[in-house]
């Protein structure tokens, strides 16, 4: 990867249609690599999630022609919430296979073109329309179902195992889970106060998050990402071209993907695929994935780590930008990615490991800086224009590894010290598809 661009994500950009948004993110990326002329771009991969939002089919063709890239090759990529992550990997594959020397990955979403609750309907159409959609058509409800079971498995049956009254034990477990999910929301919103591209930077307290409107129990408004307009681009090329274009290229050393059943109801109760540092004994009595964990995330993480030669992600990665559409899924994803064992996600959060060392969160975070997760602010605070999101993560990770956060954010706070290797993680509906890509400093 030699360059990237991203528009500020916003509730609505009515003055820009999708073509203009992508053009701005494209121009920003091209300006960073002045030796790259348009004629050297071999082709593109263009991503957006929903045809419903723009009510313009084959919109990717219009991106291609607005950028003046005809008659070069292009194809549209769509894979639910993981659309941006898949687009990044499609561009990677185009270059790695030898088909292209330079590939532009470009993604966008214009979600403001319908009312929020109509937008929720469009998103929920990416669930089984015979069995799931007619019950409420509401993704937040599906994630709430997942985290209630997660809290049952990992708080009720552990921390609250001593409580005799079953219903009381479950209430206590959920209350504790809500409090810990709020830590994630606080972290990501406060990180975003140093990121000028973020949609909702704010200093929140755990109490603010708990007091915000209940959307789908136990998830409150501040624990959920919102609808956004935005675009992002990444330019990928061969190693020899990269050296001509920049003195700070970033190497993509691992890509992984995974899938799971569309319906939560169909997820099996089997055994856990293990990272090298885990043992079968760790999960002897754990029905997996059930509805509590994302098997696709684990599968993607294992594949990407194997390719990059990583055996222990917590020790060998310097940071992760992951798909926190819900504060709950950030905690579930810590476990999928092997940052901690299944069941340890809540304690991992409270240890402070995913927090930044140099920021005051108003929380006691003794292990802060061990594994910064979503230093940019993540989806919860940056926004989630679906087709752009996975590419936004790539751009923020790219700037982080280049050591150019200060240059792009006008604020050095989020720049980690000398990061060498980071991961980006993109996730589709209830974990039906996940991508993980590993980026490393190539200079």
């Amino acid at each position: 990867m030699v360059s990237g661009g991203v528009t500020k994500f916003a509730k609505a950009h009515p003055a820009m249609d999708f073509r203009l948004m992508v053009k701005k993110a494209y121009d920003q990326a091209m300006a960073e690599v002045p030796n790259l002329t348009k004629d050297r771009i071999t082709g593109t991969r263009v991503s957006y999630f929903s045809d419903h939002f723009s009510r313009q089919l084959k919109a990717a063709s219009m991106v291609q022609d607005y950028l003046g890239l005809n008659p070069k090759g292009s194809v549209r990529i769509e894979w639910g919430g993981a659309t941006g992550g898949e687009c990044f990997q499609a561009a990677y594959e185009a270059v790695a296979s030898g088909r292209m020397d330079v590939c532009l990955a470009a993604g966008y979403e214009t979600m403001s073109r319908v009312a929020t609750w109509k937008g929720n309907e469009f998103i929920a159409l990416a669930s089984d329309t015979n069995f799931d959609f007619p019950l409420g058509g509401f993704y937040t409800g599906y994630y709430a179902l997942m985290v209630v079971r997660h809290m049952y498995e990992y708080l009720r049956l552990t921390k609250f195992a001593h409580v005799k009254d079953e219903r009381e034990a479950q209430r206590l477990a959920i209350a504790e889970g809500q409090r810990i999910m709020s830590w994630v929301s606080v972290k990501n919103h406060i990180n975003a106060t140093h990121n000028p591209y973020a949609q909702y930077p704010k200093r929140l307290t755990v109490q603010d998050v708990l007091d915000s409107e209940m959307i789908s129990y136990p998830l409150t408004r501040e624990q959920i990402c919102t609808m956004s307009d935005g675009a992002a681009t990444a330019i990928l090329c061969t190693e020899s071209v990269a050296k001509e274009l920049t003195d700070r290229p970033i190497r993509i050393t691992g890509v992984g993907t995974g899938t799971d059943t569309m319906r939560l109801a169909d997820r099996p109760f089997g055994s856990v695929p293990l990272y090298p540092h885990e043992k079968p004994k760790d999960y002897e009595h754990l029905p997996y994935p059930g509805v509590h964990s994302f098997r696709a995330g684990r599968s993607a993480g294992l594949e990407a780590c194997r390719m990059a030669g990583i055996t222990n992600p917590l020790r060998e990665l310097d940071f992760i930008e992951l798909h926190d559409a819900y504060a709950s899924s950030e905690i579930q994803t810590y476990e999928d990615l092997g940052l901690c064992k299944y069941g340890e996600g809540y304690d991992f959060t409270l240890s402070g490991a995913p927090f930044l060392k140099n920021i005051d969160y108003g929380l006691d975070v003794p292990r802060a800086g061990q594994m910064p997760v979503n230093p940019s602010g993540g989806l919860i605070a940056c926004g989630h224009p679906v087709g752009a999101t996975g590419l936004m993560q790539a751009v923020f990770a790219f700037w982080q590894l280049q050591g150019r956060i200060k240059q792009h954010f006008g604020d050095p706070t989020l720049q980690l010290r000398n990061p060498r290797r980071g991961a980006i993680h993109s996730h589709a509906g209830t974990g039906s598809a996940v991508t993980v890509s590993i980026l490393e400093r190539g200079f």
């Binding site: 003055a15 799931d132 019950l135 058509g137 179902l145 079971r149 109801a265 509805v291």
Partner: protein, 174 residues
């Protein structure tokens, strides 16, 4: 012809579209965009195809799952599927018990547009004795504070079927 009205807040633009069908949005930089109402309505000819017997059975007050016909597999699906996910063989219909337990649950204060008028509503994933997968349903006649994992529940069926998954719902077992 008069120009559409100009607004600085996008929310006001949305309201104006409901009234007159057009508005101008002026952003903080003074850039103006013309915004119009653009309705879109479709009637799909949706076939339940191989899932049809499930929805017809609901109308008769029966809950059908499916069982793999491979004797060495025999996996039972609470949400029916035409072919087995484990071994790939065809499945056969199998009536499920009317009673089950809550595997997980939530209470939704919102939903997508079509369901907002039904809020709040409860969703639950149900586990059945003898089945290896779950069924997602609405849970009625109870409120958030009544719900817990493991709660015994039983099926109720619509007397005027709409041929939708909402023709079945569960209530707490007495």
């Amino acid at each position: 012809m008069p120009r559409p009205k100009t607004f600085q807040h996008f929310r006001d633009v949305q309201e104006e579209l409901g009234r007159s069908g057009a508005a101008i949005f002026r952003d903080a930089n003074g850039v103006e965009s013309l915004v119009i109402d653009s309705p879109y309505s479709i009637h799909y000819i949706h076939s339940y195809a191989e899932d049809s017997p499930f929805f017809l059975a609901l109308a008769e007050g029966k809950l059908l799952g499916s069982r793999c016909t491979n004797p060495s597999c025999g996996f039972v699906y609470a949400t029916p599927r035409g072919h087995c996910m484990v071994c790939g063989r065809p499945t056969e219909w199998k009536e499920l018990p009317r009673k089950g337990r809550v595997h997980s649950w939530t209470t939704c204060q919102f939903g997508s547009e079509a369901f907002l008028k039904e809020t709040p509503y409860n969703l639950a994933m149900i586990e059945f004795e003898g089945a290896g997968s779950l069924l997602l349903v609405r849970l009625k006649d109870c409120v958030q504070s009544d719900l817990y994992v493991g709660m015994p529940v039983e099926a109720r069926f619509a007397s005027d079927p709409k041929y939708s998954i909402t023709d079945v719902w569960f209530v707490p077992s007495k």
